[in-house]
Amino acid sequence: MAVTGLAMLLYLIAHMLGNLKVFFGPDEMNGYAHWLRTIGEPVLHHEWFLWIVRFGLLAAVVLHGVSAYQLSRRDLAARPVKYAHARRRASYATRTMRWGGVIVALFVVWHLLDLTTGTVNPRGESGHPYENIVATFDTWYGDTIYIVAMLAVGLHIRHGFWSAAQTLGAGSPGRARALKATANILALVLTAGFLSVPLAVMTGVVS
């Protein structure tokens, strides 16, 4: 859970920073998207780098999901009887890890159909990510799905980063506050960065 989670977190940071290119206009954004396909040339062929990243991410998602399933099954079996006097436990981010993760996984499918294959995108023109982004965020459902998913991602990262640090043995009483703060900052910055794009399209800053 920890290793695959951190790998996906690193990807999310790069993805969020890349998204901000949208604020520099269609030429910058589309040029950046084209550059992504040329990374590693001439050692790697066109788009090979992108496909290596895609396979790495797919492996991370699958392993993360399988571990989550195994852990959940074990945890639910270890506590078969609930307390009659129920009490609200742990933080919201902690309690929503399972369903939040499922929501994020479903969003990834939608997101790929929307902006990678263009299947569900109102425009869906290959090689024109800027125009496709504006098209999807001009729809109410595109905005709603994206905003809900990004809030789920933020909550998932908030508990996930901190937990991953504990699992890998990086936690100590002295470092507890610093790790919590890093988790909160990562969650906030990533959520804000991702949300800035649909908000900019909705307010007309990007069109």
């Binding site: 852990l71 074990r74 945890d75 639910l76 079996a77 270890a78 506590r79 078969p80 009887v81 609930k82 307390y83 009659a84 006097h85 129920a86 009490r87 436990r89 742990a90 902690t94 890890m97 508990h159 901190w162 937990s163 640090a165 504990q166 699992t167 890998l168 043995g169 990086a170 936690g171 100590s172 009483p173 470092r175 507890a176």
Partner: protein, 246 residues
């Protein structure tokens, strides 16, 4: 004080149980929670009913025998053991829910008593130091740096009551196991068995059917001895280190 108690009654491990309601009167705020249950049991015996079974021994908060979930919290609202929880923390007329520890690895024996021998088997798997016995060694023969001694002592405080498992939404025993791993692992006497200790204890913990840790943090909040949550990370560090060297 006059109180309404809703207590889990279960005649034995196989029989189904249920919450039953009892009224108790003339409870002094200075009574401990267990003394309040004693008062109830005296009344039940006089009425010819079976008294409520619960574990207890020292009644001074150092043995770890007592343990029950009071109003959804392990050992009740104060950070102490049920025997050191006093009735002044409740108000006259309160309704109090009392349940046994809930975990697959802690089956209910009767009423509020659970079988915690899974903890004993985790300790048997490696929670000790193999040393020749004989006369007590000279105190300064093995120097221990003060910070290490403090870490060891803070973790040695664990009384094995099981509140961590009861409070954990996953019924995980990570905090209990980490207390012993960190206690012995931070001392020179524990160094020779450091690797096998953590690997064997974690193996046994998993075999007993305890859940996995999701860092909910409920265990450290419930622990009457204040074993801190980062102890789990310290055990993970020991486990990774030992796995690499295996």
């Amino acid at each position: 004080m006059r109180l309404t108690l809703r207590i889990w009654r279960q005649p034995d491990a196989e029989a189904p149980g249920a919450m039953r309601t009892y009224e108790v009167e003339d409870i002094s705020p200075d009574m401990s929670f267990l003394e309040m249950l004693d008062t109830l049991n005296e009344a039940l015996i006089l009425q010819g009913e079976e008294p409520v079974a619960f574990d207890h021994d020292c009644r001074e908060g150092i043995c770890g025998a007592c343990g029950m979930v009071i109003n959804g919290q392990a050992h009740g609202p104060e950070r102490t053991t049920a025997c050191q929880l006093h009735m002044r923390h409740f108000a006259d007329g309160d309704t109090i829910d009392v349940e046994p520890w809930r975990a697959a690895a802690f089956p209910v024996v009767r009423d509020l008593m659970v079988d915690r021998s899974a903890f004993d088997r985790i300790i048997e798997a490696g929670g000790y130091v193999t040393a020749p016995t004989g006369s007590a060694p000279e105190a300064h023969a093995t120097p221990v740096p003060k910070p290490d001694a403090d870490t060891a002592f803070a973790h040695a405080e664990c009384i094995g009551c099981g509140a961590c498992v009861a409070a954990c939404p996953n019924g995980s025993a990570m905090l209990f196991t980490s207390a012993k791993v960190n206690h012995l692992g931070s001392l020179p006497q524990g160094a020779p068995e450091r690797d096998t200790r953590v690997l064997d204890m974690v193996d046994q913990m998993d075999a007993e059917g305890f859940g996995g840790c999701t860092l909910a943090g409920e265990c450290a909040t419930a622990c009457p001895k204040g074993i801190p949550l980062p102890s789990i990370s310290a055990m993970n560090r020991e486990f990774l280190r030992a796995s690499r060297r295996r």
